[in-house]
């Protein structure tokens, strides 16, 4: 029994390029987000109305999370953080559609996102202190703490990715068990909790932890 991502076909027929169902749903959600973003910003005007209000609400909601933790640089980090917020949130929500599995229920997706955040964190640290100054920061206050600091830095993407993966997969396993015991009506509130509420909270937390890592590297 393998409840994880199922291999659908191989890209170009190569054994080392498997295409799983979570990857396909991930591509689908990227396309839907692109179409939505294009549709919401079709006709921008000074006085917002209709769909432009929705777009501005989303942007302001994310901006208000960044600005208190990275003062003065909210607009610079908005595209990166908003991409994480919207992609993770939409990936969690798309699991509500019957027959589709959440792309975030796959460790490959979450670890990929966490590694992108890791690279950005290192870049921002080096941009703030210079390459040598940033590396020297690991050996403070005493040189003996160097291995511990390096391990602590390397553990960040692991805990970051496992948190999202564990939450989504844990909810999915509980819902699958309930479906086998009681297929009608009882799973509905569980879907509302695990897919909607936990999914939204986890998307918020994934983005907020990314902001916190960046602000720790810069301070």
């Amino acid at each position: 029994m393998n409840p994880g991502p199922q291999i659908q076909f191989y890209l170009f027929g190569k054994e080392y390029l498997p295409i799983t169902d979570t990857l396909l749903v991930g591509w689908l959600s990227v396309v839907i987000i692109l179409i939505l973003a294009k549709y919401l910003t079709l006709s921008l005007s000074i006085r917002p109305e209709g769909k432009q209000n929705v777009a501005e609400m989303i942007v302001e909601l994310i901006y208000k999370q960044i600005e208190p933790m990275l003062p003065g640089e909210g607009w610079r980090f908005l595209p990166f953080i908003a991409t994480i917020f919207i992609y993770v949130g939409f990936s969690n929500l798309i699991g509500l559609v019957p027959g589709l599995t959440s792309p975030t229920g796959d460790l490959n997706t979450t670890l990929g996102l966490a590694l992108v955040v890791f690279v950005v964190v290192q870049y921002e640290g080096m941009r703030e202190y210079g390459v040598w100054g940033y590396i020297k920061g690991f050996a403070e206050p005493v040189i003996f703490l160097l291995p511990i600091n390096v391990i602590g830095e390397l553990a960040k993407p692991i805990s970051h990715s496992f948190r999202l993966f564990g939450n989504i997969v844990g909810g999915g396993i509980i819902i699958t068990l309930i479906y086998q015991a009681a297929p009608a009506l009882i799973p509905v509130p569980l879907h509302a909790w695990f897919d909607f509420f936990v999914g939204m909270i986890q998307a918020l937390i994934f983005g907020m932890v990314a902001i916190a890592y960046i602000s720790v590297a810069k301070s």
């Binding site: 029994m1 393998n2 409840p3 994880g4 999370q65 208190p68 805990s159 496992f162 948190r163 993966f165 564990g166 939450n167 997969v169 844990g170 396993i173 918020l204 937390i205 907020m208 932890v209 916190a212």
Partner: protein, 85 residues
């Protein structure tokens, strides 16, 4: 030295990994207590300073996330033990 047949060995390994998966989830106790403690403190803080509600909730969520990771680790290990063996 007693030789076991492969079926017996496989059954023993499966049983042991299921028991270990159940035991790994005992780790869920600690994060539960810790996150509840943080939420209680945040409630007190909001009562004292209702105007700082937004930043208190943000700080509480970040702290709960960090302290909740250990529970998630145990869940991931349990999943690996059940489906990986």
């Amino acid at each position: 030295m007693i030789e076991f047949s492969p079926e017996v060995a496989e059954t023993v390994i499966t049983t042991a990994s299921y028991i270990a998966a159940g035991a790994a989830l005992i780790a869920g106790v600690g994060p539960g207590i810790g996150m509840g403690f943080a939420a209680g403190k945040a409630t007190t803080a909001v009562r004292r300073q209702p105007q700082a509600r937004g930043s208190i909730i943000t700080t509480m969520l970040l702290g709960q996330v960090i302290s909740g990771s250990t529970g998630i680790y145990s869940l991931v290990i349990a999943i690996f033990l059940i489906f990986g063996v």
